[in-house]
Symmetry: C2
Subunit: 303 residues, 2 copies
């Protein structure tokens, strides 16, 4: 069984009736499993997470996008998160028995669907046919939304010959804006709480592990005060999680924290995670070098 995940970000996080109507398109789709729907009122944005085989996921995503374009009017949208359109970002993620090349093809099929609806489409991640464009601007670490500029400057951006859309017309559509469509590996959010209220310690440790200041290549990290817990947190994101297994991150943080006499209070994994990212946890801590994912009963059920 091939399993593809999709986590569209749509520009509605306050009117939960609209979000429910859009999510219902996915819930009612044959062969697609909804893992999560989360809405953030401050960002005025929702993220749907669902998975299944390629064709059901692609078809459900197309129907969901058409419904979103019908229900959301970007001329009325305000929110804290950068965004370029009603269907703002649509990443496709390989979960099981899929090569990235197949996922890129799905992203491009979805992009052509959106382009045919008259929406300017920008590909990102592994689906990006113009990685030069990103590199030239020396901002490949930024979200596509940041690089494009937000919805408000989209009309101008579309007139820039350097920013012709990858699909669809280079014409500003005030109601729907543009869409960014990507293919990428699963993104893991891993947070480690420290038994201290000294935020500078979390910040120094975040600096030690993140790529931008000399840490692990595929890790982004910030230090945060968790006032309700009376602690601080190193909050991390990693894309190529097989390059930086969770145990290596945790043990680096534990060792850095020990310099200040601070202990790890706990950790959390936010959102969905594939078994492949957890296998290193078993192998590392159990020293179970030959342990195979095929031994896990739940995995056998879907193989």
């Amino acid at each position: 069984m091939k399993v593809l995940m999709c986590t569209p970000n749509i520009c509605e996080g306050t009117n939960l009736e609209i979000v429910a109507n859009i999510a219902d398109v996915i819930r009612n789709a044959e062969g697609v499993k909804v893992m999560d729907v989360s809405s953030d009122a401050n960002h005025n944005r929702s993220v749907l997470t669902y998975l299944g085989e390629i064709e059901p996921v692609l078809q459900a995503t197309e129907k969901m996008a058409a419904k979103t374009l019908a229900l959301i009017d970007m001329t009325q949208h305000k929110g804290a998160h950068p965004r370029v359109g009603a269907v703002d970002a649509v990443p496709f993620i390989p979960v099981k028995n899929l090569e990235m090349e197949e996922v890129v093809q799905v992203a491009h099929r979805f992009g052509r669907f959106m382009g045919n609806l008259g929406i300017p489409v920008y590909y990102y991640g592994e689906a990006d046919p113009n990685p030069e464009r990103s590199r030239a601007k020396n901002d490949s670490g930024k979200l596509m939304q940041d690089r494009l500029g937000q919805y408000e400057s989209l009309e101008e951006r579309l007139e820039d010959p350097d920013w012709l859309p990858d699909e669809g017309p280079p014409i500003f559509n005030p109601k729907s804006g543009a869409v960014t469509v990507g293919a990428r590996t699963h993104l893991i959010c891993f947070n480690v709480d420290l038994h201290t209220t000294d935020l500078s310690i979390a910040k120094r440790i975040a600096k030690a592990v993140r790529h931008s200041s000399g840490g692990y290549r595929d890790v982004k990290a910030i230090g945060l005060a968790m006032e309700d817990r009376g602690m601080v947190q190193v909050s991390m994101m990693t894309t190529r999680y097989l390059n930086t297994p969770i145990p290596r991150l945790l043990e680096t943080i534990r060792s850095e924290a020990a310099r200040y006499g601070v202990n790890v209070a706990g950790s959390e994994i936010n959102g969905p995670i594939p078994l492949s990212a957890l296998m290193e946890v078993f192998r590392h801590y159990l020293q179970a070098h030959s342990f195979s994912v095929d031994q896990i009963i739940e995995n056998a059920l879907i193989s």
Copy 2:
């Protein structure tokens, strides 16, 4: 989705063509996934491991048992492992969304099927309607095969009013013998290798962790020499694995080994394992107290 596992032990481990014929009954069954077929020539015994929803698993098991009764002749069987019949032991194991009571009912339905074929049936584990009988004999720690006496003494056993079968006639069937049918939780085989060739250390540690000499209630353990590895091993079996999480076992062994200046070289989990037994590995070592099995993508696919 409800998921039931079945791991029948059949009395053939040398003629692999017969084993393949029997295993094919399961492989060809609709709605059943075969995880493993292993044959042991020394024991002259094979274990099939498969799973699926209740009805497909029960039907496949009935067909497999009928085929086994046709192909195996116990009058010809020799092997190192205790056994009472051609279809020697049939344990049913809850894997997902199943209460033990439902699994006991499946075991009893299978037992009645075997009884109707004229095979004496003895229930064990949670399916045992006569736990008093086991307790009275003060040998509840032994295999049902050991308590019953082996195939060779079965004819005599069946004449003992204390050992009337739970299903089927109390009549010795020379070709097929009897069958033991059980319902139990998943059994985990966990082995820890130690960086020493001193077998007495593995034996002392096995003694420290196993129930029979004062250790954890649901753990059986022995010390073994692993001559090919130049190490010794603490080899363990645990049934109620939620009572004795793997990390607690490993860390107890690590601490006991440290008394002798010996390090843990590695560990292995033998055979299939459910995610529920691995969740404690994350929670313990990552200190990820709120981590939920619902976050695991593969698990969501079968829920």
